[in-house]
């Protein structure tokens, strides 16, 4: 029997770049296949070829043994290939069933009227067949990210997809939602669907996939059955050398309090309170990790600390000075570095080259500016040194930020902020989209800053990252810390529970206050809140 998907000798060249070099990929019907690799390894390119977004320079794509030639995703969809992008393409104010049928609505009256009843019926039938627990009449805006993902899957199924491509499907999910997604995989494969998912997370590929194909530098390094391979072996295949899985943290004596947040309340853009009475203290030489599912107030907390958003009430003291009413400029001047969540929106000016981006935030300070005049020579030197130290590719200071891949954009931002010689680093998802080799380097730099006595507030959705690096780990849910735990003793399940808003029994929470004498602030935040009663 022919494999459901058979890509044979796929080569895809872009000007100056070979993104895929003679890649073979065979995926059996009814199996889950993980496409694993670092950023820039060519995973997405390969899938875009399969989805008809790119035409391969060489090579053929066969579905069930039939050679295919896709001019556009439309052709791919017609041939039964569906793709679920990392960022969902759903219309928020519309309902689930409306989103599913959008673009392929059943019509009556010769195409003039959408047959709403039939459409809804079809969606209900589909979601029941696959055991999806989604309310067809709920609005997209009102459902969870995990449910939205299922709507995307339904969309693909509704269009007749037999092969589902998912681009980093777990990136936006909680650990529990990830488990549910794996359940969905089982359901789909039982019914004969084939799933290919892109990932750069080893654990995920091992637990969800039947087979794993590792890409490196656009080349297929090997395809292995997930039962026959270890984490370390996979990691080695990805980066081509052995990597240390856990960054080495050594105990560190905490210094003076650098950042103190007291009873902080922050509203979001709609005026809804999303950070509630939050208090904590961060010392020099300490990394405080903040874990949590995106959208639980982390963004607003960070914005209030860094001066991008006014606090509704409460106080943020930085190096002994209250920051209430102080500008962002003032905070930068006082040595606060900030790696923002959204690199393309905030962290970089997309149309500027790296020389110009290298001084973003320092555009009024020596050595880049003297007497109001910018010194482009010094700026260029700075950009080039960041590019070199942080391995930004391509190593071209004149490249516009938008021409860089996401991981390289991130490396440049992190480099710029770390080289600011800061007292406090507020790092939001510092290694998001960055490949393993560079992640390791960024982690080392973060630990170096810590050993230099700098304070680090690390907000990340990568559990292993916050867990591996932090001295203390705060878990945020619904605008407050549901727990501050010792990352070396806490389990992933416990963190998952905290992320879901449930509290742990007191043991593990108390154990966490270790670096925080007198437990100031922390207890208030754990106790404060409805979670205690829950």
């Amino acid at each position: 029997m022919n494999p459901a998907v058979h890509m044979d000798g796929i080569t895809k060249r872009f000007p100056g770049v070979v993104a895929n070099d003679d890649v073979d990929l065979a995926v059996e019907r009814g199996s889950v296949h993980a496409l694993l690799g670092e950023n820039g390894a060519g995973k997405t390119t390969l899938m875009n070829v399969l989805y008809g977004l790119y035409e391969p320079t060489e090579g053929t794509v066969r579905l069930d043994g039939e050679p295919q030639s896709f001019d556009s995703p439309r052709d791919a969809i017609d041939a039964g290939v569906g793709m679920i992008h990392q960022h969902f393409m759903l219309v928020d104010p519309m309902t689930v069933w409306e989103n599913v049928v959008l673009g392929n609505e059943p019509t009556t009256w010769g195409g003039l009227r959408v047959d709403r009843e039939a459409a809804r019926e079809a969606v209900v039938e589909l979601s029941e067949r696959y055991g999806f627990d989604v309310d067809p009449d709920a609005k997209i805006a009102d459902i969870s990210v995990g449910e939205q993902q299922r709507v995307e899957i339904l969309k693909a199924l509704y269009r007749g997809a037999d092969v589902l491509i998912m681009d980093e499907p777990t990136a936006v999910l909680t650990p529990q939602e990830v488990e549910e997604l794996y359940g969905v995989f089982d359901e789909l494969t039982e019914q004969g669907k084939t799933i290919i998912f892109i990932s750069h997370k080893l654990g995920e590929a091992l637990s969800a996939a039947d087979e794993i194909t590792v890409l490196r530098d656009g080349v297929n390094v090997g395809t292995v059955a997930s039962g026959d391979v270890t984490r370390e072996e996979l990691a080695e295949m990805m980066v081509g050398r052995e990597v240390l899985m856990d960054p080495a943290t050594s105990p560190q004596d905490a210094g003076d309090t650098v950042l103190e947040v007291t009873d902080l309340c922050v509203d979001d853009d709609r005026g809804v309170e999303v950070v509630s009475d939050l208090s904590f203290r961060l010392r020099g030489g300490e990394i405080l990790g903040v874990a949590g599912v995106d959208g639980n107030g982390q963004s607003q907390l960070v914005e209030a600390i860094t001066g991008l958003r006014d606090a509704a009430s409460g106080d943020v003291r930085y190096r002994g000075e209250s920051m209430v009413g102080k500008t962002r400029r003032h905070r930068i001047d006082r040595g606060m570095a900030f790696i923002p969540e959204d690199r393309q929106e905030r962290g970089l000016v997309m149309s500027y080259d790296l020389v110009e981006n290298g001084i973003l935030g320092s555009q009024h300070d020596p050595p880049f500016a003297r007497g109001g005049r910018l010194d482009w020579g010094a700026s260029r030197g700075h950009a080039e040194s960041v590019i070199e130290q942080y391995d930004v590719r391509p190593p071209d200071a004149d490249a516009e930020a938008e021409s860089l891949s996401g991981g390289n954009q991130q490396k440049f931002i992190v480099g710029r902020e770390f080289e600011r010689d800061p007292e406090l680093v507020v790092a939001t998802h510092p290694t998001r989209g960055v490949d393993i080799g560079s992640t390791e380097f960024l982690h080392d730099r973060l630990l170096e800053l810590r050993s230099e006595g700098k304070a680090v507030l690390l907000v990340s959705s990568k559990l292993d990252e916050v867990q591996g690096l932090s001295d203390r780990l705060a878990v945020m849910h619904g605008g407050s810390f549901t727990g501050v735990v010792d990352p070396s003793t806490v389990t992933e399940e416990e963190i998952g529970l905290l992320m879901a808003g449930e509290s742990l029994d007191d043991d593990s929470v108390e154990g966490a206050a270790l670096h925080d004498d007198a437990g100031d602030g922390i207890d208030g935040s754990t106790a404060g809140g409805e979670e205690v009663d829950a």
């Binding site: 895809k12 100056g16 770049v17 070979v18 993104a19 670092e38 950023n39 820039g40 390894a41 060519g42 995973k43 997405t44 390119t45 875009n48 989805y51 977004l53 995703p73 992008h85 990392q86 960022h87 530098d217 980066v239 081509g240 050398r241 991008l308 962002r328 400029r329 930068i332 001047d333 900030f338 923002p340 959204d342 393309q344 929106e345 905030r346 970089l348 000016v349 997309m350 149309s351 500027y352 973003l360 935030g361 555009q363 009024h364 109001g372 005049r373 910018l374 482009w376 590719r393 391509p394 938008e402 021409s403 860089l404 891949s405 996401g406 991981g407 390289n408 989209g433 490949d435 080799g437």
Partner: protein, 433 residues
């Protein structure tokens, strides 16, 4: 990170705008030249059609092969438009490429350059606001206020100083500064309204245009009107306090010195935008406000600053209009401020680009006058031809701006993100092999 579908299936707007975004300078030039040729082709047809409809005793032009006669000669119209605007440097219908008797210091070129000079200032005014992401539609009002401030200041100070060149230099300097202050204040008002009351600057600047025009009119009508004047105008400022035509015929109202001042302003503004910290703040706010905020740029202050600077440049345009063109403030002020918007768009909001853009406008203005002198083509039709050229030339740049502001292309909005992360990169592809 990326969603390739957005690249593949952009909205209608994106598809419309996309070809004009991210063009190199050379491509833009080619596009501009093609646009001019296309507009001439369309204008050619228009001249023919109206030439067929119009009544005349002898045909100005007979179409080859068909023998159809037309009242207006489209070839002549365009030859006169461009050649005439420069004072006929090119020999047409005579041997040789150039007219032997041509000198650059002729009346036609003077008129063209006079218009160019004024439009440099209003073009810069609009451009600097655009660069900060602000639509200053109020340059006209700022120019009116600046012009009045200049006229009144010079008239008030002139009697205090002994007439002569030194007084002239002082009066021109102080008068221009007064224009900058007047226009600057008039620009700062909508800037502050935008920054602190969230009032849309497009609306407020348009409204302030009317306020400026009418308040100035009433002031001059009731208080500052020159005795015995039949029009609503102030007294003339002394001749020694005006930019005097030099080399060019006096009737051209063109002073080379004023043009040089304009060019100096172009250079200064370019330097300001590209090489100063405040300029960096300003253009960063313009291209990506969220990143500017992240970089510690005070958005409110930058808005007020940019609008003040924009207004001041418009005000200086008013000063030059008074001190070079009219010699006094009068109620019928030409639409220099509004033309400045088109000049700025044409220039891609780049200070350097304002020079050729303003010159093209000057040519169209000077050429239109020539067509009036030399041919029977009605001025209304000439205005249509000018409009066509501007429309065609400005459109690609205009599309580009729409693209930027709606985030379809490059930068800010990021509706189209950087392209598939792994593919655009390839960079990562080279990771230690």
């Amino acid at each position: 990170m990326s969603d390739p579908d957005a690249d593949r299936t952009p909205s209608v707007l994106a598809r419309l705008v996309a070809p004009f975004v991210d063009r190199s300078v050379a491509e833009r030039l080619v596009i501009s030249v093609a646009a001019i040729l296309l507009s001439i082709a369309v204008g050619f047809a228009l001249v023919l059609v109206s030439g067929r409809i119009a009544q005349c005793s002898t045909a100005a032009w007979t179409m080859p092969f068909t023998g159809l006669g037309f009242c207006y000669n489209p070839v002549e119209v365009y030859v006169v438009l461009f050649n005439g605007a420069l004072g006929y440097p090119f020999a047409v219908g005579e041997p040789g490429l150039f007219n032997a008797g041509w000198t650059p210091f002729n009346l036609s070129l003077g008129l063209t350059l006079s218009e160019t000079t004024l439009l440099i200032f209003t073009g810069l005014s609009v451009a600097v606001a655009f660069r900060a992401g602000l639509f200053n539609i109020g340059t006209q009002g700022q120019l009116v206020v600046g012009a009045l401030a200049t006229a009144l200041t010079v008239l008030a100070l002139a009697p205090l100083l002994p007439a002569g060149p030194i007084a002239g230099v002082v009066l021109i300097g102080v008068g221009t500064a007064a224009g900058a202050v007047g226009g600057g204040i008039w620009g700062a008002i909508p800037g502050a309204l935008k920054a602190y009351a969230d009032a849309n600057e497009v609306i407020t600047t348009i409204m302030l245009n009317f306020v400026a025009a009418n308040v100035a009119y009433v002031l001059v009508l009731e208080v500052f009107r020159a005795e015995g004047s039949s029009v609503v105008a102030t007294r003339y400022v002394p001749e020694y306090a005006q930019f005097r035509p030099w080399l060019f015929p006096p009737s051209s109202d063109f002073a080379l010195l004023a043009l040089l001042v304009g060019v100096a302003f172009i250079g200064a503004l370019y330097y300001f935008v590209e090489h100063t910290s405040v300029g960096y703040d300003l253009r960063t706010s313009g291209v990506q406000a969220a990143a500017a905020e992240y970089g510690g740029v005070n958005a409110k202050l930058t808005t007020v600053r940019a609008m003040t600077l924009s207004g001041a440049l418009g005000g200086i345009g008013g000063s030059v209009w008074v001190l070079m063109s009219e010699g006094r403030w009068m109620a019928s002020i030409p639409d220099l401020g509004f033309d400045g918007i088109t000049v700025s768009i044409l220039a891609g909001n780049n200070p350097i680009g304002v020079l050729p853009a303003a010159f093209l406008f000057g040519i169209l203005k000077g050429g239109a006058l020539e067509i009036g002198f030399r041919t029977d083509v009605p001025t209304e039709l000439v205005a249509v031809l000018r409009g066509l050229i501007i429309l065609f030339v400005a459109m690609p740049e205009f599309f580009r701006m729409i693209g930027r502001y709606t985030g379809v292309a490059g930068g800010a909005g990021g509706a189209v993100s950087t392209g598939p992360e792994e593919t655009a990169g390839g960079d990562g592809g080279e990771t230690d092999a």
